[in-house]
């Protein structure tokens, strides 16, 4: 095993759970979260030698894959009802409301309030400008409030 391979394995052993939890918050599906993170690690092997900041890199891959997953799911299901989303978990109004956000808004909310990332790092992960992050967080929170008050 090469040094860089060992570095990736170490990251897998120490941060896999963190990434799965992040992916779960981004997708709402524990099964999809594990799949996305495992795929991200497998894919990371191909470009690992060029990666400068391993964890932020993997986090960005997971966020992007989760957003793609979310977009596909939106196309397939067109906003499932809360009763469909809360299978296996206690009813949670705010969690259900999170599922109504766009993939980008959801990612911005999760990265801000769960990962506690600053605007700059969220912008880097989402591939957008800081102003766009602020807008996504602001509109995401407004949408959550609106959904809960409904």
């Amino acid at each position: 095993m090469t040094d860089w391979d060992a570095g990736l394995v170490h990251l897998y052993e120490t941060r896999y759970r963190d990434l799965v939890r992040l992916a779960y918050l981004l997708t709402g599906s524990a099964e999809a979260a594990e799949e996305l993170v495992q795929d991200a690690f497998v894919a990371a092997r191909a470009s690992w030698t060029a990666v400068r900041e391993p964890y932020p890199y993997l986090r960005t891959v997971v966020v992007n894959r989760a957003r793609s997953w979310g977009r596909r799911r939106q196309l397939e299901h067109r906003q499932p009802r809360p009763s469909e989303r809360a299978v296996g978990l206690d009813a949670d109004e705010l969690w259900d409301a999170l599922a109504t956000l766009s993939p980008r808004q959801r990612a911005a909310i999760v990265l801000r309030f769960y990962e506690d990332l600053p605007d700059g790092e969220i912008a880097q992960a989402l591939g957008c400008r800081k102003a766009t992050v602020r807008t996504a967080v602001h509109r995401g929170l407004a949408a959550l409030r609106q959904e809960i008050e409904r």
Binding site: Y12, D39, A43, A46, L89, Y114, T135
Partner: protein, 194 residues
């Protein structure tokens, strides 16, 4: 509902799930083997796909000569390319109008910018990236968001990285450094999955 409610809910939900990672050895073999053994499409399908690609690319080239519309981002190389940046062969011959000894070819950032401009006429935003002169390798990240520029904050944005390798060239009695693009990857644009 305030921000603390969101924070509390997210932490609680994240703690709800039980994560049991499979051993790396299983992940590194089963999934990779599965990827490698994924059945390839029939040859006629590959030929048809090639024909369609050629037709679409030709159409885009014709259109670009007329009004210079944005080139499809799908022409960018897909992410996760299986290459080793330190030894991979160049994938781009370099800017056509720049002579071999030109100093611009000795600057990784200028070569990367020329490469991306040759594929996407619209400008991108370059990140800091890394240029390792000693190792002779460079990875330069970029982002681009048409949708944001158009006032649509929830639209798609794109980001990627251009990988380069420095190969010294002997010209007469001198050796001049020259950067070559050896790879390009992107986290969003998976042509094979669209």
């Amino acid at each position: 509902m305030n921000e603390n409610d969101v924070r509390t809910m997210l932490r609680r939900r994240a703690g709800d799930i039980v994560v049991d990672p499979p051993p790396w050895s299983e992940l590194g073999t089963e999934r990779l083997v599965a990827e490698e053994r994924r059945p390839s499409p029939p040859r006629w399908l590959a030929a048809a796909a090639l024909l369609v690609t050629v037709a679409v690319t030709g159409s885009l080239l014709l259109l670009s000569r007329r009004s210079e519309p944005p080139v499809s981002l799908q022409q960018v190389a897909p992410p996760e390319l299986p290459f080793e940046p330190a030894s991979a062969a160049p994938i781009w011959p370099g800017p056509a109008d720049v002579p071999l000894g030109d100093t611009r070819l000795a600057d990784a950032r200028q070569v990367a910018a020329a490469y991306l401009e040759s594929r996407m006429p619209r400008p991108v935003r370059w990140g800091d990236g890394r240029v390792d002169e000693a190792a002779g390798t460079a990875s330069l990240p970029w982002t681009r968001s048409d949708a944001v520029a158009a006032g649509e904050p929830n639209g798609p944005s794109y980001s990627g990285t251009v990988f380069l390798r420095r190969i010294d060239v002997r010209l007469a009695e001198t050796v001049v450094p020259r950067w070559h693009v050896v790879g390009s990857m992107d986290d969003e644009l998976r042509v094979d999955r669209l």
